[in-house]
C-alpha cells in the first residue's frame, strides 16, 4: 500500500536511497558508480523492501465502470518510483486482486496478474514490452492460488484492451497516477506532530500542492461483468514475490492509507503479511490497538477532544479488517463503499481520523449512540487538493501518462 515509507520512496524524503558510488577505475569517470544501495530509514528501522518498487502497491480502486453499465472496474496501481527509476512490473511478482463474496473476509475469487519476458503471446516483443497473464482462481483455490484458469493475456502498454472469453476486460501498463494528495503538507504536519521538529516549511492547509499531479504509475485495470459478482464484495490486493526459497508476501491494501496512518513502522510489514480474516486477532490484536491509539492521538487535534475508548473501538472495528467493501446497492461514500478515481478519500480519512463525524455515528442521535456527540468537522478536514482532471470516461479510466 502507499504507506509512509513508499511515499518516501517516491518522495525520497524519509528514504535514504543512497547512491553510493564505487568507480571501478579510480582514474576514470563517474559512469562507473555502483548503483543504489537502497533502503529506507524511518524511526531508526531499516526497510529494505522499499527498494523493490515493483512489488509495492500504491492504491486500489473499485467502482462502477463509467459508461459501461453492468460492469465493475478494479484498478490496482503499483510501483511508487517509476518516475524516478523507471520500472516495469516484476517478473517474479504475483499481483493479486482478492475478492470476498460472502463477508467472511476470505477471498472467494482472486485475479492474479503475472508478467514475463517469455513472449507468451508469440508476438516477439516481450523483450521490450512485458507480456501479462491474468489467472482467475475460485473457491479454496483463491486462497492457495491453485487450480486457476488464465482468463486474459497480452502485452503491457497495449494500444487496445484485452477481452477474455469470460468477458473480463484487462489492461496493464503505465498510466497517469490518479491519486491526489498534498504530500509535502502531510509530511510537514505529521513530522512536526510526532517529533516536534519541522521538515521544510509546508503544512497541511498551507499553500496546498498536489504532489501527484505529474506522477505516473504502473496499473493493472480490470472490468468485470456485474453478473459475475454479487452486489456486495470485499476487495483487497496483495503482492508476493518469488525467490530461491519460494513465494513471500510483500504488500497488501484494502482501504487507502490504513497501514500508513495507524501502524508504526515496526508493525507495517506484519500488517502487510496478515490476511484480513486474521487482522483483528493476529499479534495479540495489535493492529486494532494501533488504530484505536492512532484515532485518539489524531482526534486530539479536534476542539471537541479525542475519541472516547468506545468511539475509537467502534471506528477500529470498521477499519479492521482492511478490506475495501463495495456494495452496488449502497449510498455510503468512499472509502466505506468502494473507491472511485476522483473520490477524495484523503479528505474523508483526515476528517474522520482527526475527530470529525460526518456520518453522524456518535452522540445520542448517532447511528451507534456512543457519546459524547461530535460534529462533522475534525481537527483537519482536508488537504486542500482535489481530483485530477485527466481521468477517462472509458476503460481503462486512468489518464494518459505524463
Amino acid at each position: 500500500m502507499r504507506n509512509a515509507s513508499k511515499l518516501a520512496t517516491l518522495g525520497a524524503a524519509m528514504t535514504v536511497l543512497a547512491v553510493g558510488a564505487a568507480p571501478l577505475l579510480t582514474s576514470a569517470a563517474d559512469h562507473l558508480d555502483a548503483p543504489a544501495l537502497g533502503h529506507t530509514v524511518a524511526n531508526g528501522a531499516i526497510d529494505l523492501v522499499s527498494t523493490h518498487g515493483n512489488r509495492d502497491i500504491n492504491d486500489l480502486y473499485v467502482f462502477p465502470a463509467p459508461h459501461d453499465p453492468g460492469r465493475t472496474a478494479i484498478a490496482l496501481t503499483t510501483n511508487p518510483a517509476i518516475d524516478l527509476f523507471g520500472g516495469d512490473f516484476g517478473t517474479n511478482v504475483r499481483y493479486a486482486i482478492n475478492i470476498d463474496t460472502n463477508g467472511d473476509n476470505v477471498q472467494d475469487i482472486a485475479y492474479v496478474a503475472r508478467f514475463s519476458r517469455e513472449d507468451e503471446d508469440g508476438d516477439g516483443d516481450a523483450a521490450s514490452n512485458l507480456d501479462f497473464k491474468i489467472t482467475r482462481y475460485a473457491g479454496r483455490g483463491a486462497v492457495s492460488y491453485t487450480g486457476g484458469v488464465t482468463v486474459a493475456h497480452g502485452d503491457t502498454n497495449a494500444r487496445s484492451k484485452t477481452v477474455g472469453s469470460n468477458n473480463l476486460w484487462a489492461w496493464t501498463g503505465v498510466r497517469s497516477d490518479p491519486f491526489f494528495f498534498d504530500l509535502l503538507g502531510f509530511i510537514g504536519t505529521t513530522t512536526l506532530l510526532k517529533t516536534g521538529t519541522a521538515v521544510g516549511t509546508d503544512r497541511l492547509g498551507v499553500n496546498p500542492s498536489d504532489f501527484f499531479a505529474e506522477r505516473n504509475t504502473n496499473a493493472i485495470v480490470l472490468s468485470v461483468p456485474n453478473s459475475q459478482l454479487p452486489n456486495k464484495i470485499g476487495v483487497w490486493a496483495t503482492t508476493s514475490y518469488h525467490n530461491e526459497s519460494g513465494w513471500h508476501k510483500a504488500d497488501q491494501i484494502g482501504r487507502p492509507a490504513i497501514n500508513t496512518v495507524f501502524n508504526p513502522t515496526a508493525d507495517k510489514n506484519d500488517f502487510n503479511r496478515t490476511a484480513p480474516s486474521r487482522q483483528t486477532t493476529a499479534f495479540g490484536g495489535k493492529f486494532v490497538t494501533n488504530v484505536e491509539h492512532g484515532l485518539q492521538f489524531f482526534s486530539s487535534l479536534d476542539t471537541e477532544g479525542s475519541y472516547t475508548d468506545a468511539q475509537a473501538a467502534f471506528l477500529a472495528s470498521v477499519l479492521i479488517p482492511d478490506v475495501l467493501v463495495y456494495d452496488r446497492t449502497s449510498t455510503l461514500p468512499a472509502p466505506l463503499n468502494g473507491r472511485a478515481l476522483a473520490d477524495d478519500v484523503i479528505d474523508v480519512e483526515l476528517r474522520v481520523t482527526s475527530g470529525g463525524d460526518p456520518l453522524n455515528l456518535f452522540g445520542a442521535d448517532g447511528a451507534t449512540g456512543l457519546g459524547p456527540n461530535r460534529d462533522a468537522n475534525g481537527g483537519v478536514n482536508g488537504d486542500g487538493v482535489g481530483p485530477h482532471t485527466d481521468y477517462l470516461a472509458t476503460f481503462p479510466y486512468l489518464g494518459v501518462p505524463h
Binding site: 524524503a13 543512497a18 571501478l24 563517474d30 519476458r117 484458469v149
Partner: protein, 481 residues
C-alpha cells in the same frame, strides 16, 4: 599487434557536441549557485526475464484475445525503461512539480537522484553539478532530512572530491549508524583514499545489514584493489546474478563483471559481458570503452575504433579519446594521423576547459602525458601532489611511472613497491614496476613482473602491451644472473 583487415578512413569527428559537454561543465561550475538549471534528464533499466513465469501451477487456457476495437489513449507513449530519453522525461516531470511548489524538497531531492544517475550514463560532469545543486537545494529547504545530504556525499564522491565525500558521509553515519547509504559512500571514499581497513570494516557492516548486489560489487572493488583479481570476478558475478533476479540495473552489473573479467585477463567472457551491457543500454560508455579494449587486444583495430568513436561522440572522456588516438596512430590510415592528433588534443583540452574535469580525470591526464610526452618534472610534481591527496596504490603507481619517465628509477621502484605492498596486482602496476625494475638492472624481477602483466592480456592497452613486450624481450635477451 594485428590490424583490422578492412582499413577505412576514420570519419571526420564532429566535435562541437563533445566539446560542448566539456564546456558545459565549465559553465555549470561557474554558475554553481544557480538552482534553476533543471532542464535535462535520465532513467533506469528494466527487470530481466524470469523463467518462473509459468511456475504458478495455473493451466494456460489462452482464452484472452486482444481486441483492436477500443483504443487506449497514450498507451506505450513513454520511452522504455533504462533509456536516457525517459530519464530526461522524468527530470522534466519533477522540475514541473518543483516549480509549482518551490518548498518541495522531495522533488529537489529526486532531481538530484535523477541528474546523478544521468551523469552515470553520459559522463557529463555538468550533470553531476546539477545533481549537487539540486541536493543542496533540498538540504536548504529541509535541513533535517538526511536523504539529500547522503546524495551530496555520493555526488561529491562521483566528482572525485573524496575527502569531502568521506567527511559528509562520515557525519551522517555518526549521527545515525542506520544510514547505510552514507555508510556505503564512506566505504567507497575510504577505498579511494587508501584507507582499506576502514573500507573493509564498513563493507562488513553493510554486508551484514543489507546483503545484496550493491554491497557485493563494492566488495569486488575492494578485492580488486588488494590484488585478488579472481575474487573480484567471483564477487562481481555473484552481484550480477543477484541483480538479474532483483531486476536492478542489469546493464551496470554486466558491465562491472566484464570489467573485472578483463582486468583478470579473460577477454572472451569480458567481451560477452560488455555486449550484454550494451544490449541493455547501447550508449553505455564504460561498456563501449571496455569492448574497444577487447577488440583492440584481439587485433580488431577497426572495430575498436568504431566503438571508441561511438563512445567519444557521447562524451569525450580522456580515457576513450586517448585510446582512440593510440589506435588511430597504430592503424595509420590516410586520415588517421590527423584524427589521432585531434583525439590527443581533446585529451589535453580536458584540463584547460574545466577545473572539475581536471580534478575528476587528474590521474588519467597525468598518465596520458607520461605515455604520450613530453615528460617534465611538472608531471612528477603532479603525481606527488596526487599521492599527498590520496595515498592509495594507484597514486604510488602513478608517481612511480612519473619518476621513471624522469629517469629516476630507484625512486620509482620505491613507489612501485609501495603500490604492490598496498596489494595492487593489476596489470598496469605490474607493467610499470617491471619496466622500472628493468631500468634498475634487476632483470629477473623485471621479467617476472612483465610476464605477470602480459599474462593478464586485455588488462593492458595496446601501447602498454606493446611496450611491455618490447621490454620483456629485451630483458629476456639479456644475460640473466
Amino acid at each position: 599487434m594485428a590490424t583490422s583487415p578492412t582499413l577505412r578512413p576514420r570519419r571526420l569527428p564532429i566535435r562541437p557536441r563533445p566539446l560542448g559537454i566539456l564546456a558545459a561543465a565549465v559553465v555549470v561550475v561557474a554558475a554553481s549557485a544557480v538552482v534553476s538549471h533543471f532542464g535535462l534528464g535520465f532513467h533506469f533499466p528494466t527487470a530481466p526475464g524470469n523463467a518462473a513465469w509459468l511456475a504458478s501451477g495455473a493451466p494456460v487456457s489462452g482464452d484472452g484475445a486482444a481486441s483492436a476495437t477500443v483504443g487506449i489513449p497514450g498507451a506505450g507513449a513513454l520511452s522504455p525503461s533504462g533509456s536516457l530519453a525517459i530519464i530526461d522525461h522524468n527530470i522534466g516531470l519533477w522540475t514541473t512539480t518543483l516549480k509549482k511548489n518551490p518548498n518541495d524538497f522531495l522533488s529537489a531531492t529526486n532531481l538530484a537522484i535523477l541528474y546523478h544517475a544521468r551523469a552515470r550514463l553520459t559522463a557529463d560532469l555538468a550533470d553531476h553539478q546539477r545533481a549537487l545543486e539540486a541536493a543542496r537545494t533540498a538540504m536548504k529547504i529541509a535541513p533535517t532530512q538526511t536523504t539529500a545530504a547522503g546524495l551530496e556525499a555520493a555526488i561529491l564522491y562521483s566528482l572525485h572530491d573524496f575527502h569531502a565525500a568521506f567527511k559528509a558521509a562520515d557525519a551522517l553515519v555518526r549521527a545515525d549508524p542506520a544510514e547505510l547509504g552514507a555508510l556505503a559512500t564512506r566505504a567507497d571514499a575510504s577505498i579511494e583514499l587508501g584507507n582499506l581497513a576502514s573500507a573493509r570494516s564498513d563493507l562488513k557492516t553493510l554486508a551484514a545489514a543489507a546483503p545484496g548486489p550493491a554491497v557485493d560489487i563494492r566488495l569486488a572493488r575492494l578485492a580488486a584493489v588488494t590484488g585478488d583479481l579472481q575474487g573480484a570476478v567471483s564477487l562481481a558475478r555473484k552481484a550480477r546474478d543477484a541483480a538479474a533476479v532483483e531486476g536492478s540495473d542489469p546493464g551496470f552489473y554486466e558491465y562491472a563483471l566484464a570489467e573485472y573479467e578483463r582486468n583478470a585477463g579473460d577477454a572472451t567472457t569480458a567481451e560477452a559481458g560488455y555486449r550484454a551491457a550494451l544490449a541493455v543500454r547501447s550508449t553505455d560508455l564504460g561498456a563501449l570503452l571496455g569492448l574497444a579494449r577487447i577488440q583492440a587486444f584481439g587485433g580488431r583495430i577497426g572495430d575498436a575504433i568504431t566503438s571508441l568513436e561511438t563512445a567519444t561522440a557521447i562524451a569525450p572522456t580522456p580515457e576513450a579519446e586517448g585510446l582512440l588516438g593510440d589506435l588511430l596512430a597504430m592503424r595509420a590510415g590516410p586520415a588517421d594521423a590527423a584524427a589521432s592528433a585531434t583525439a590527443y588534443g581533446t585529451v589535453r583540452l580536458t584540463r584547460t576547459l574545466s577545473a572539475v574535469a581536471g580534478s575528476v580525470y587528474d590521474r588519467t591526464l597525468v598518465k596520458f602525458d607520461l605515455d604520450h610526452g613530453p615528460t617534465s618534472s611538472v608531471l612528477v610534481d603532479q603525481a606527488r601532489g596526487g599521492l599527498a591527496d590520496r595515498s592509495d596504490a594507484g597514486a604510488h603507481d602513478l608517481l612511480a611511472w612519473a619518476l621513471h619517465a624522469s629517469g629516476r628509477d630507484d625512486e620509482g621502484w620505491t613507489e612501485s613497491q609501495a603500490a604492490m605492498a598496498a596489494g595492487a596486482a593489476d596489470a598496469r602496476t605490474l607493467y610499470h614496476a617491471g619496466v622500472i625494475a628493468a631500468g634498475r638492472g634487476d632483470l629477473a624481477t623485471a621479467r617476472k613482473l612483465l610476464d605477470r602483466a602480459i599474462a593478464l592480456g586485455p588488462a593492458l592497452d595496446p601501447l602498454e602491451r606493446s611496450n611491455a613486450s618490447d621490454v620483456l624481450a629485451a630483458v629476456s635477451g639479456s644475460a640473466m644472473p
